[in-house]
C-alpha cells in the first residue's frame, strides 16, 4: 500500500518537476516545439496505454481519432467561425460518440482481427480527410485559426508548452486514478482473464467500450491541441503510420506502465529529430531500433529495466 502511494505521488511529482525545470534547458523555440510534441504524444500514449497495456485490446487506428479531433475543431473554428471552445467541445463529443458507436462491434473481435478492424477504421478516416477537399483542403492540409479565449490569443511555443505540460500532468493523474480503482481492476482483469472477470460480475463489454472511448477522446483532444497549436493540419495526422507511432510509443516504453508510455513518447518523438543527421540511413536505423527494442525488451523499456533493477537489488 505504501509502496503504491509512493509510486503514485512520487511519479506524479517527478513528471511535474521535469515539466517545470525543463524550460531552463531549452536553448530556443525549436526545442520548445519538440517538447510540446513530446507532451502531445505522451498524452495520447498514456490514454492508449489504458486500452492496449491495461485492457489488452490493440488499436492500430487511434490516429484516426487524433485526425478527427484536429479536423473537427479546425473546420468548425476555421471554416464555420465557431468559438474555439465550442469547436473543441464539439470535436471531443463527436469523436466520443463515434468511438462509442463503433466500439461494440469492433471490440467483439480479438487479436489480429481487432488489429485489422481498427487499422481499417483509421485508414478510412485518413482517406475521407484526403478526399473531401472542399471541406478539409485535401492532401495538402488546411490552416487553422488561433485559439482565442477571454480576449486572449494562445500563441507562441512558451504558452503552449505550459498548456500541454499542464494537460500531461492532469492526464497522468487521471490515468493513475483509473488504474488503481475498481474500474482499473476491471480493465486489467479483461486482459488477465476475461471469463474470470465476467463470472465475478464484471460487465467486460461495458468496460472495454468505456476505455476505448476514453482513449479515443484523449487522442482527439490532442488532435485539437495540435490543430490550434501548429495552425496547420494535414491528413497525415490520421495516417496509418501515425497510428503505428502511437502504438510503438506504448509498447517501446512498456505496456501497462503509465510512466513507460511517457518514456516511449519521449524516445519516439526525439528519435526522428536525432536521426535527421543520418540522411538516407534514417529509415534503416529507425526500423532496426524498433526491431531490436521489441526483440530484446519485449515488455518495453521501463518494465524491463525495473525488472533488471529488482534482480540487481
Amino acid at each position: 500500500m505504501g509502496k503504491l502511494m509512493n509510486q503514485r505521488t512520487g511519479g506524479l511529482g517527478l513528471v511535474a518537476v521535469v515539466i517545470v525545470l525543463l524550460p531552463w534547458f531549452l536553448p530556443n523555440i525549436f526545442y520548445y516545439d519538440v517538447a510540446i510534441h513530446v507532451g502531445i504524444n505522451a498524452i495520447v500514449a498514456v490514454g492508449l496505454n489504458l486500452l492496449i497495456g491495461y485492457a489488452g485490446q490493440i488499436s492500430l487506428g487511434h490516429a484516426g481519432f487524433f485526425g478527427l479531433g484536429a479536423y473537427g475543431s479546425g473546420i468548425l473554428a476555421g471554416t464555420y467561425g465557431w468559438h474555439p471552445v465550442l469547436a473543441l467541445l464539439a470535436a471531443l463529443i463527436g469523436v466520443g460518440v463515434l468511438a462509442f458507436i463503433v466500439a461494440r462491434p469492433i471490440l467483439r473481435l480479438k487479436g489480429h482481427y481487432l488489429a485489422m478492424a481498427t487499422l481499417g477504421l483509421g485508414i478510412l478516416v485518413a482517406i475521407v480527410l484526403r478526399a473531401e477537399t472542399w471541406l478539409t483542403g485535401g492532401p495538402d492540409g488546411m490552416i487553422v485559426p488561433s485559439f482565442e479565449i477571454f480576449g486572449w490569443t494562445l500563441m507562441g511555443e512558451t504558452t503552449w508548452y505550459w498548456i500541454v505540460g499542464g494537460l500531461l500532468l492532469v492526464t497522468v493523474w487521471l490515468a493513475l486514478n483509473i488504474i488503481d480503482s475498481p474500474v482499473g481492476r476491471a480493465l486489467r482483469s479483461v486482459h488477465g482473464s476475461e471469463v474470470a472477470a465476467q463470472v465475478a460480475g464484471v460487465d467486460t463489454t461495458h468496460y472495454k467500450v468505456l476505455v476505448f472511448v476514453i482513449s479515443a477522446v484523449f487522442a482527439a483532444l490532442m488532435g485539437v491541441v495540435t490543430a490550434f497549436y501548429s495552425g496547420f493540419i494535414t491528413p497525415d495526422l490520421a495516417s496509418f503510420f501515425h497510428s503505428i507511432e502511437f502504438v510503438t510509443m506504448v509498447v517501446v516504453g512498456g505496456m501497462a506502465s503509465t510512466f513507460g508510455a511517457i518514456i516511449g513518447a519521449v524516445i519516439l518523438t526525439l528519435l526522428p529529430q536525432l536521426l535527421t543527421g543520418f540522411d538516407e540511413y534514417e529509415a534503416m536505423v529507425f526500423g532496426a531500433i524498433l526491431m531490436a527494442t521489441m526483440i530484446f525488451l519485449p515488455k518495453g523499456l521501463l518494465p524491463s529495466l525495473a525488472a533488471r533493477l529488482r534482480k540487481g537489488g
Binding site: P27, N28, I29, F30, Y31, D33, H37, R130, A131, T133, G138, P139, D140, G141, I143, S230, G231, F232, I233, T234, D236, L237, Q273, L274, T276, G277, F278, D279, E280, Y281, E282, A283
Partner: protein
C-alpha cells in the same frame, strides 16, 4: 558505404554537441536552409533539387563564397509531407537560424510553411509549382518554377492551334494535380476549349484504366490532358495506349524529367508537354540567350551525377542563383534587405527563363519561358 556511415555518425555527434551548447549561429557563414521531398512520392523532385543545391554551394564556396563568407546548407527531408515540412521549417528558422530558405518541392509543403516565413520574416524561395504560392503576393515568399496556370495556358494555346476543343481531363489528387486541374477549368473559356470529362487518381494508384475508360467513352473527345507528377502520369500514359485511345495526349510540366520517358517507354511517344528550355538545351538555336545557362547547368549536373538533368534541379539552381545575386546586391545578409533585393531581381537568366521580379510578381517569368515539347523516339523534341 560503411565509412560513409561512420562519417555520418561523427557528423551527427558533432551536430548534437553543437545543438546542446546552443552555439548554433556563427557569424562567418551564410546559412541557407532547405526542406525538400528527397524521399516519398515526390522524391524525383527533391532528389535533383538537393543534389543541385549541394553541388552549386560547393562550387560557390570553392570560388570564394558570397560576400566573403562561405555558404552553409542546412537540409531536412520532408518526404513530401506538408506537416513534416512545417516542423522542419520551424526548426530551420528557430533553431538553425538560417538566413534564407530554399525549399518546398511541392506546393503543399510550401503552403504549409508560408505562414511561418511571413510570421518570422525570412526570405523564402519555393520550388513548388502551384499558383497559390505567389498569387496573392506574400511579402517574404518567392518561387522559381513556372506556374501551373502558365502550363495550362501553353497547352490550351497549342490545342487551339491544332483545332482541338473537346478536352478530357485527368488529374492527380495531390496539390499539384489539384491546382493544375483548377487552372484548366478556369482557363478553358478563354481558350475556347471545353472540359468534357474530369477524372482523378490518387498519388499511389497503380492502375488508371477505369478512369481512362470513362474518358474514352466521352462524346466528341478531341484530346486528353493529364495534370500530375510522379509515376502516376507514366501509368496513365501506358494505360492510355493500352486502351487504344487515339486522340492527341498532353501532359503537364510535372513530367518534365527523363524518368517519365523511361517509365512510360514507347507509350510516351507522341505525348506533348510544356517545359523549360533545359530539356532541349543542345537543340536551342545558338542565338537563344538562355542557351549558355542551360547547356552549362546540364553539363555540370550530368557530369557530377549519374542521371539525366531535369527541370526540377534547374528550379533549385535558379533559386540559389537568385538568392546569391540578391545577397551580393544587398551587400549583406540582413533578411529585410535580401528580401527587397530578391524582389528587385531583373534580367537574371536562369534555367527556367529570364527572371524579372517586382512587388506584384514574385515569380518573374512570362509565358515565353515555356517551350512546347513532343516526345519522339524516347527523347524530347522542340516543336515551336
Amino acid at each position: 558505404m560503411f565509412r560513409r556511415f561512420m562519417r555520418k555518425m561523427s557528423v551527427l555527434a558533432g551536430v548534437a554537441v553543437l545543438a546542446v551548447s546552443g552555439a548554433a549561429s556563427s557569424a562567418d557563414t551564410i546559412k541557407i536552409g532547405s526542406f525538400l521531398a528527397v524521399t516519398g512520392p515526390a522524391s524525383f523532385l527533391g532528389d535533383p533539387e538537393l543534389k543541385t543545391l549541394q553541388l552549386y554551394i560547393e562550387r560557390i564556396n570553392a570560388d570564394g563564397g558570397v560576400l566573403g563568407k562561405q555558404l552553409e546548407l542546412v537540409h531536412y527531408d520532408d518526404g513530401g509531407s506538408a506537416g513534416k515540412a512545417r516542423t522542419f521549417a520551424k526548426r530551420l528558422i528557430t533553431a538553425d537560424q538560417v538566413d534564407l530558405i530554399i525549399g518546398g518541392s511541392t506546393t503543399g509543403a510550401t503552403m504549409a510553411v508560408v505562414p511561418l516565413a511571413e510570421q518570422y520574416g525570412v526570405p523564402f524561395i519555393s520550388l513548388g509549382g502551384g499558383i497559390p504560392i505567389i498569387d496573392p503576393v506574400k511579402k517574404w515568399v518567392f518561387k522559381t518554377p513556372h506556374t501551373d496556370r502558365m502550363a495550362v495556358q501553353k497547352v490550351f494555346g497549342d490545342m487551339q492551334s491544332r483545332g482541338l476543343t473537346q478536352v478530357g481531363l485527368i488529374s492527380g489528387t495531390g496539390g499539384f494535380g489539384k491546382s493544375c486541374r483548377q487552372q484548366a477549368l478556369d482557363q478553358a473559356d478563354e481558350y475556347k476549349v471545353e472540359i468534357i470529362a474530369d477524372e482523378t487518381y490518387g498519388p499511389k494508384d497503380t492502375d488508371m484504366t477505369a478512369q481512362l475508360t470513362n474518358i474514352k467513352g466521352a462524346d466528341g473527345l478531341d484530346t486528353v490532358l493529364n495534370c500530375g507528377f510522379g509515376q502516376g502520369p507514366a501509368i496513365v500514359t501506358k494505360n492510355y495506349r493500352q486502351l487504344g485511345i487515339e486522340v492527341p495526349f498532353y501532359q503537364s510540366h510535372g513530367v518534365a524529367s527523363k524518368s517519365y520517358i523511361e517509365l512510360a517507354g514507347d507509350a510516351a511517344n507522341g505525348v506533348r508537354l510544356p517545359a523549360a528550355a533545359l530539356l532541349v538545351a543542345e537543340d536551342l538555336p545558338d542565338d537563344d540567350p538562355q542557351k549558355p545557362v542551360v547547356v552549362d547547368y546540364k553539363e555540370v549536373f550530368e557530369s557530377n551525377f549519374d542521371q539525366s538533368v531535369s527541370t526540377f534541379g534547374g528550379h533549385a539552381y535558379d533559386a540559389l542563383m537568385i538568392a546569391v545575386e540578391a545577397m551580393e546586391r544587398a551587400g549583406s545578409t540582413d533578411k529585410a534587405a535580401v528580401r527587397e533585393a530578391i524582389e528587385n531581381t531583373s534580367g537574371l537568366m536562369g534555367t527556367g527563363g529570364e527572371f524579372n521580379m517586382s512587388a506584384s510578381d514574385h515569380l518573374g517569368l512570362d509565358l515565353s519561358a515555356f517551350r512546347m515539347l513532343e516526345i519522339r523516339n524516347g527523347d524530347w523534341a522542340l516543336i515551336d
